[in-house]
């Protein structure tokens, strides 16, 4: 019985959380979600990424100093919009890019961009 009560209490807490909105703010929430996306699709199988312990693959450039790069993949101005477009479908954003398209939605790509920008602020 007590378990049920606890579960019900948890459920209300979850239900009270506001639904995720579509704002493209680089909020901590978005970065947190972005990190979860990076872990789910495992961007780490090609990149070493700050804050991601495993995996740290060596197939692609490390993103350790990514905050500071001027051009994304040496081609695109480093803006949130460009970054979101690039991490979702790199060959479309930068013709000829060898990073494959990733199975994430546009909203998830924005969260990923928020995480990548916030990485070294911690």
């Amino acid at each position: 019985m007590q378990q049920v009560a606890v579960a019900a209490a948890l459920l209300t807490v979850v239900a009270c959380k506001p639904p995720p909105d579509d704002r493209t703010s680089l909020s901590a929430d978005a970065a947190e979600r972005g990190k979860a996306v990076i872990e789910r699709v495992s961007c780490g199988s090609c990149h070493a990424i700050p804050g991601i312990d495993w995996p740290r693959g060596g197939a692609a450039p490390s993103l350790e100093d990514f905050d500071d790069v001027g051009l994304i993949a040496g081609a695109l101005p480093n803006t949130p919009g460009n970054l979101a477009a690039f991490v979702r479908d790199a060959p479309a954003a930068k013709p000829g890019s060898t990073m494959p398209p990733m199975p994430i939605t546009a909203a998830e790509a924005e969260d990923v961009a928020a995480y990548l920008y916030g990485m070294n602020d911690e």
């Binding site: 699709v41 060596g58 494959p100």
Partner: protein
């Protein structure tokens, strides 16, 4: 699609309720009962010890004397544990005896072999002949018992799918049997539960439970694909399976991927049914395009992880027995990945 990094392992060990207390079949249910009883006994004994400690420190003189007497040691230290542990052992063995019952009738049989550091999976027909070779995942029919024939190719491993059954060792030179049965469809994670060296912590797999009719169709389709004769020259795959992705016209060519796969030496370690690739040192890749994970239950399976794994599996799973192919160019990796994705 895949839930995420380390998915098979995460699914086996995380979640609420904890997988051990969330059985999805009759064999796991008896293990769960045992787990609850052990937990309850553990709590009771801890309670008794705390009470005794309190009495020993703060209790009245007369009680403290009794607690320190010889009789208390005989009862609490010898008789109680002997009776409780013996009872528990007998009851526990009886409760879980069904997990290891030998084959009675026409149960499905699957041979699972522990390898450093992945699982070889072979589906057997009633006569014990291998009809489908696969790796790192187990497909099960709903509500039908399946007998796993457990072996090891090297050191001791142990297979554990907490939602479906108990834990059973895979011992070199022995065949152990373990029954699994699922009473709900879905995905359940599994792990190697015995330290087997190096990347043991990254040795997992995924179980997928299908409706019985779907399972029969699935197995028949796979068996047909596995029986495909070797066709020299042609790009392997299920007929019609090698289609170019319209979103990516001509960029990566599965046929070129096959040539690279063959000429780079992958075929020496990996088998793909119906081709000259017949290596046995690594997982069978005949169905790798529909594999639920890569790297033995640790990565989701998509173009990105496929390339990442081939290019640098040693960073992802340090010490595993496949070399990193950093000498392949990004284009070559793309062709190979496109080819492997078509192997459904």
């Amino acid at each position: 699609m895949n839930k995420g990094a380390a998915s098979g392992i995460m699914e086996a060990l995380w979640g609420w309720p904890p997988p051990v207390f969330d059985p999805a079949g009759p064999y796991a249910s008896s293990v769960t009962t045992l787990a609850w009883v052990l937990l309850a006994l553990g709590v009771a004994v801890t309670g008794i010890v705390i009470a005794a400690l309190y009495v020993a420190i703060k209790g009245p003189e007369r009680w403290r004397k009794k607690l320190g007497g010889e009789k208390a040691v005989w009862i609490g230290g010898i008789a109680f544990p002997a009776v409780v542990l013996t009872g528990l052992l007998i009851w526990g063995l009886a409760l879980t005896a069904s997990l290891t019952e030998p084959i009675r009738g026409r149960e499905a049989r699957v041979r699972v072999t522990g390898e450093m550091w992945w699982f070889r999976v072979e589906y057997l027909d009633p006569a014990g002949r291998v009809i489908v070779r696969d790796a790192n995942e187990l497909h099960l029919p709903l509500d039908r018992p399946v007998v796993l024939e457990l072996r090891s190719a090297d050191v001791v491993h142990s297979i554990w799918i907490p939602h479906l059954s108990g834990k059973m060792d895979m011992v070199p030179g022995r065949i152990n049997q373990l029954r699994v049965e699922a009473s709900r469809t879905g995905r359940f994670g599994g792990v190697c539960a015995e330290y087997c060296g190096g990347p043991h912590a990254l040795m997992g797999f995924v179980t997928q439970v299908h409706e019985a009719a779907d399972y029969d169709r699935w197995l028949a389709a796979r068996a047909a694909r596995q029986a495909q004769p070797v066709a020299a020259g042609a790009t392997p795959g299920r007929p019609g399976a090698v289609v170019r992705d319209p979103a990516e016209p001509q960029r990566y060519d599965p046929a070129l991927g096959w040539t690279l796969f063959r000429d780079t030496g992958c075929a020496a370690c990996h088998r793909i049914a119906g081709t000259e690739a017949n290596g046995l040192a690594g997982p069978d890749l005949t169905h790798v395009g529909s594999r639920l994970s890569l790297g033995a239950g640790i990565l989701p399976n998509h173009r990105g992880t496929m390339i990442g794994w081939i290019a640098d599996s040693q960073s992802i799973k340090p010490g595993n027995r496949m070399p990193s192919y950093d000498r392949l160019s990004a284009e070559e990796l793309g062709h190979i990945a496109a080819f492997l994705e078509a192997q459904k």
